[in-house]
Amino acid sequence: MRMRTMEISVGFLMLAGFLALVVLALNISGLSLAGQGGGYKVYARFENIGGLTVRSKVSMSGVQIGEVTNIRIDTDLLMAEVEMTIRDDVDYLSTDSSAQILTSGLLGEQYIGITPGAEDETLQDGDRIRDTQSALVLEELVGKFLFNKVSE
């Protein structure tokens, strides 16, 4: 009978471990069971991407609609080219949408904000967003400000 209580408690331990892993997955790492990896790719070129990294979020009106999946240098234009994956259900971005690199808070992390345009045609897999705005680099801003002061 002592064996039985032992087996039960070991069973509970196993169960607790499994539940903990589920909590870690869903609640803490925010792994959503639905629609992982589903999405279409859109490209955009930027002069300067600042602190943008892979896995930075892509959002529209503050709602996350995808994430940055790759960053490389376009060797012809010598600009940064960002590949982002947009969720499949977001299929209403017009071809004249614009992409901006924004900062959440003064020192927060950087993300891409998409502002939709007015065209009827929508972005498809592999399309490019033409209208882009680079990251605001604080040093440049301060430099410009000082330069303007001096030239006045």
Binding site: M3, M6, E7, S9, V10, F12, L13, M14, A16, G17, A20, L21, V23, L24, A25, N27, I28, S29, G30, L31, R55, K57, G105, L106, L107, G108
Partner: protein
């Protein structure tokens, strides 16, 4: 001077020999055919001693460490006005580092030392020899179930530690310090990646579980069967496993999260 070098060489050689014996033990205990008398009840029993009985210390330490992290994280981050990031800080430091390492250290102190002392005492009271004379390989009957129990328990205890720790951090940050719980959890979920952070932490804990139980079981099996020998072996278990865990943690962290 020459004496010193000689003693250094002697220590090195005997350590190397012990390491060889430890490897032999591992191979024999694991490669050996399953024990004739049911292995499963033995494993359950060891899981109970090693896993279930370690649960309380793991839960209590996890809660306190999470709460301290929440408190410290808040006081540091509030200076930069980014106290919402406390959730992300608590979760990342727990899942990646503190849960596997602290669990392994507590495990070495709580279960590892007990394993060593138990096996050492079995050796001293001739129980191991007795198994051999009955025709049962003590490696299979005594060592293998204990080894597997430690190996299985460690990842379980680690994930429990993580969850309890995050919960402790949330209690302090949200309930006590008044951070908006939406941003607490959202920041955390956005920063913590399941594969990158959670699974890597679990992999760490599996490695630690392997190393700590291996050391504990070997030190018990290899000890000098006297009361002094057992106490030394128990100390060695705690010291060696702690050092091994900390050293391996650095190597694993460098491999997993470093830019190597």
């Amino acid at each position: 001077m020459l004496d010193w070098i000689q003693s250094l060489g002697h220590t090195g050689l005997s350590r190397l020999a012990a390491f060889g014996r430890a490897g032999q033990l591992l191979v024999q205990a694991l490669v050996a055919k399953p024990a004739p008398v049911m292995m499963f009840p033995l494993l359950v029993k060891q899981l109970y001693f090693v896993g279930v009985l370690s649960l309380i210390i793991i839960v209590v330490s996890g809660a306190f460490i999470g709460m301290v992290l929440g408190l410290q994280g808040y006081t540091i981050l509030v200076d930069y006005g980014s106290e919402q990031a406390v959730g992300q800080m608590v979760a990342l430091s727990l899942v990646r580092e503190l849960a596997p390492v602290v669990t392994a250290l507590l495990f070495a102190g709580r279960a590892g030392s007990a394993l060593t002392a138990e096996i050492g005492l079995m050796k001293a009271t001739e129980q191991l020899a007795s198994f051999e004379m009955i025709g049962v390989d003590p490696l299979r009957r005594i060592i293998a179930p204990r080894f597997w129990a430690g190996f299985i328990s460690m990842p379980i205890l680690t994930v429990i530690f993580s969850v309890v720790g995050v919960w402790g951090g949330a209690i302090v940050a949200v309930e006590w310090l008044g951070i908006y719980d939406g941003s607490f959890w959202a920041n955390m979920q956005q920063a913590v990646d399941f594969r990158e952070d959670v699974l890597n932490g679990v992999i760490k804990s599996i490695v630690f579980g392997f190393v700590v139980t291996w050391i504990a079981v070997f030190e018990g099996y290899d000890c000098v069967p006297t009361s002094e020998g057992i106490s030394q072996a128990t100390t060695r278990t705690v010291v060696f496993s702690s050092l091994a865990v900390l050293g391996l943690d650095f190597i694993l962290t460098a491999l997993m999260f470093g830019e190597l």
